[in-house]
């Protein structure tokens, strides 16, 4: 779960970079940047879940 979370974070970052390079229109660019940040939020959520699950397992 930790690895998937980190990969999601990187995916979101590359989505933002792709939006900058490939989309010239302002609206489409902003939409993809926000989408990329959404993917990053999913990655952070997964990392926190991995951590809390590991804490429960230790108890």
């Amino acid at each position: 779960m930790r690895l998937v979370g980190c990969l999601l974070l990187l995916s979101g970052f590359f989505l933002v970079l792709a939006a900058l390079v490939m989309l010239p229109g302002a609206q489409a660019r902003v939409a993809f940047i926000v989408a990329g940040m959404g993917v990053e939020v999913l990655g952070v959520t997964l990392l926190t879940r991995a951590y809390t699950a590991a804490q429960k397992d230790q108890k």
Binding site: L9, L10, V16, M37, G43, Y51, T52
Partner: protein, 429 residues
Amino acid sequence: MNQMLCLLCIVLIPLAAAGLALIHQGLGRSRSAAHAMLATVCALGISAIAFVLFGFAWAGFAGGPAHSFMAGGVHWDWLGAGSFFPNGVGVDPADPAGYTRALTLCLEMFAAGLAAIIPLSAGTDRWRLAPICLASAVLSAILFPIFAHWVWGAGWLAQLGVSFGLSRFVDAGGAGVVQVVGGLMAVSVAWVLGPRRGKFADDGMPAAIPGHNIVMVLFGCLLALVGWIGLDSAASILFYGVAPQQIVWVVINAMLSASAGCLAAVTVTRARYRKPDASLSANGWVAGLVAGSASCAFVTPAAAIDIGIVAGVLVTYMIEIAELRLQVDDPGGAVSVHAGAGIWGLIAVGLFGHFSDGTTGSHLVAQLVGVAALLGFMLPVIYGVNILIDHYMPYRVDSDGDWQGMDIRELGAGAYPEFVVHADEFVPR
């Protein structure tokens, strides 16, 4: 550029480190107080050496050599390519550019140290000294310089305007470069270490482990203000060409955002718990400083107050969520104060900033790209590095050390030897 004013501001920055050190050790337990202060001094020392010897070559400076590549028809400047052991930064009185480079080195040396001591707060009472030193060295030599180059060294984030027709990413006082990078290191350290023994019950409910010296914490807030003013002012002059006459507004904005953050936290805790909470109010003060630093030279005083208020309110809730919901044991609130308020501060530049080009919408997009780079690239890299270091040099003290405290376990003597050692307040009676 007024180089003497810049140098004067830079020499104030260690006071921010002193302030954070007092806050961290005051919010920890008395049995680990000496360890916390020694760890701060060691982290500052090691990060200064690592940054000057290696980090500055990668952090680079505007107009300096850099590693870059072409992709999508765009020139991506991603890492400095200077020489190690800062050759070429000579202080020749006849070469003003060389002196500016030396000022950049000096400022970033202190900034790297500041970033290195932020995670100490999240690892209080259980993070061993040796891995602290190694993690500080890696942060200052490799991790901090990457983002510092992107923003302060004319890297790709600073060139968003040239490359993509956006505005440049703005971080005048280091909210992203110093605070968020330090905050992401703090959350990684907290994840790797796990909570202190006795912090969470089996059902996940946290026990209150109060700080041992709130007077020191609040004095640390005042010291931090002076250091922050120095950092905000020096970085604004060096990296954004702010005129010396405008620095007075940087000072006013820093004070206003800190005050607003503190008063907002006082008000929120008074409303929620019937009495103001001193430690959360101190966190609100620092959160105001952190959030206000990104835009310190580009907002009106009224906007600085707004930024501080949001930071102060945000941090009280974030600390609660981190502890209650996410089970992150962060005694000093570093994750919420530095990462949380720092990200808010970066976004606030796009919302409140006044720039000569008048392109507010474009600035907001540029700031979002910077935040995405911090979360999407820096967080996984920093977390991975911490897992790697922990694998070879375990972060956490053994279970006996957890109870004895770090002072006795690692230093052999307590911070307050003449005090009566009180009973462990967390043993069931």
